[in-house]
């Protein structure tokens, strides 16, 4: 890559969302915004290596895209003489909330609750993140044409149903923001525990993209505790990425990870965010509690130094906010370290999570510690059958085959 190429891809990362968002507001049309932003960047790729990078690249891109959009609309107007329709645009709703940034409007539009979750994810990655359709299709193991159709249909629904390009009503803001954070967290998790067979175990491109988007939302909503909490959670999770898969491609559990391979810089940033939230004295939401749990783990230089009573106390707080079976499962896993496997197993058994691989994996590990090998083996079998991540499957198979009793066998 030449220097100019690097500059262009950096500017693409930094400026894409702003260019799309500015155009979307001016023209009230996401199609035009997306197409013209892409054209402007294509023009930059052509011209900047020859003419040099302009002093204010973001403004150059926005102006270029804007001119192209006007040209296109003029052509359409001339062709169809539908002047009003081409400029219907001015009747886009004005900002309704407190925050005024086109990129935030774009985020809320892409994550609108009237769109299906997979559609929100695809739109956010395309329009806010600037990923190409083939990149998004690869990330979610979907055919390129199918992903293209998904995004096209979403834009058509936004237009036909008049999903506003704006931030939500103040009363709707907490619920809508929760929806945005859920989209970002799903993108992160898909990267952190990639679900497809034959994909890498950890998709750094997706986790990095999720962190970048969350940083953007944090810039736009700096006062929100849950935004900060989600960012901290992602940073403290991402910090362990290098230690999470062994050289042989096996998942390494938190307790067994080489803590020297953790990214200290990310941990420091995550801890600072968690401390700032604690200092605020406000009641934390779920992401802040999850971040605090991860802060306790990353605080321990050695797994044996983990403050498990603190972890369990945080899970108790989480259960009171969200008593879902998955939260109770994770709490029970921490309880095993504090009160032993028997107590934990009693809490795990009976959770309605028969179809969830982590439930069986947790049971298998607890039964192993209790010396109940046959039951443990059966639980590993169930977990292996349900797990979607290659590294996790490899780990579970090895652990099963280490069980005393029967000779190791392959699945």
């Amino acid at each position: 890559m030449t220097d100019v190429d690097e500059v262009i891809s950096r500017i693409h990362r930094e400026e894409w969302a702003r260019v799309v968002a500015t155009l979307a507001r001016r023209f009230g049309d996401l199609d035009i915004a997306e197409d013209m932003a892409a054209e402007a960047f294509a023009t930059a790729v052509e011209r900047w290596p020859v003419e040099g990078v302009p002093p204010s690249p973001g403004a150059w891109l926005t102006t270029t895209a804007h001119r192209r959009a006007i040209d296109r609309l003029r052509r359409e107007v001339r062709r169809e003489e539908k002047h009003k329709e081409a400029l219907m645009l001015s009747d886009t709703p004005e900002p309704l909330g407190a925050i005024d940034d086109d990129r935030l409007r774009l985020v809320f539009t892409c994550c609108h609750p009237a769109l299906a979750m997979e559609v929100r994810i695809a739109l956010t990655l395309r329009l806010v993140g600037g990923l190409t359709v083939p990149e998004i299709a690869r990330a979610f193991l979907v055919q390129e044409t199918a992903m293209g159709r998904r995004i096209t249909r979403a834009k058509a629904k936004i237009k036909a149903a008049r999903i506003p390009f704006g931030v939500p009503f103040r009363e709707d803001l907490p619920a809508r923001l929760t929806g945005v954070l859920a989209v970002l967290y799903l993108i992160f998790n898909e990267g952190y525990l990639a679900s497809g067979p034959g994909t890498e175990a950890v998709r750094g491109d997706l986790t990095a993209e999720a962190i970048r988007l969350t940083r953007l939302v944090r810039v736009l909503m700096p006062a929100d505790g849950e935004v900060a909490g989600l960012l901290a959670l992602m940073l403290l999770t991402e910090a362990r990425r290098a230690a999470r898969v062994s050289a042989s491609g096996e998942l390494v559990t938190l307790v067994e990870q080489d803590r020297g391979a953790w990214d200290r810089e990310l941990i420091a940033e995550g801890h600072a965010l968690v401390r700032a939230r604690l200092a605020s004295g406000r009641a934390p939401g779920r992401y802040q509690i999850l971040a605090a749990i991860n802060a306790v783990h990353t605080d321990a230089r050695d797994a044996r130094d983990t403050d498990w009573s603190q972890v369990v106390a945080l899970y108790d707080q989480l259960v009171s906010l969200d008593p879902s079976p998955i939260v109770r499962l994770n709490r029970a896993i921490a309880v095993a370290e504090l009160d032993g496997p028997e107590v934990a197993l009693a809490e795990v058994d009976g959770l309605p999570l028969e179809g969830y691989h982590a439930f069986h994996a947790a049971r298998a590990a607890l039964l192993r510690r209790l010396g109940r090998s046959e039951e443990s083996r059966a639980a590993y079998d169930r977990a292996i059958g349900l797990a979607g991540n290659t590294a996790e499957t490899a780990y579970l198979i090895r652990r099963r085959d280490q069980l005393a009793g029967r000779a190791p066998h392959s699945p």
């Binding site: 609108h112 999903i163 506003p164």
Partner: protein, 109 residues
């Protein structure tokens, strides 16, 4: 301003109760006061429907609804709203007042 159709869905042919009717009246009055009302009405049971095909020569009449489905439209509102966020709120209010689910769909603009 855009117009939206709010179809009321039900899986049985029960009429609105007195309580539901009262809540619907309150909701309708609010719609009218806010200038968001276009039209509304309840429909007779699906069994009273006749399908008519007049595309080819003499019209053909078929007794009963076009699709046999578990849920049918038993009433509707047509409302006016500047964008979907407002329409979604109205749909939530409508659903609450008639105590049934509603499907919200934009008219072609």
């Amino acid at each position: 301003m855009a117009q939206y159709l709010m179809s009321v869905l039900d899986d049985q042919a029960r009429l609105a109760s007195a309580e539901e009717m009262a809540a619907i009246d309150v909701f309708n009055e609010q719609l009218q006061a806010d200038g968001q009302w276009v039209f509304a009405g309840g429909l007779a049971s699906p069994g009273s429907a006749t399908v008519v095909d007049g595309r080819d020569g003499d019209p053909v009449f078929t007794d009963g609804p076009y699709v046999e489905s578990k849920e049918h439209v038993i009433g509707f509102w047509i409302i006016e709203a500047p964008h979907l966020d407002v329409a979604l709120r109205l749909a939530a209010g409508g659903s609450k007042s008639c105590n049934r689910r509603v499907e919200l769909r934009p008219f072609l603009g």
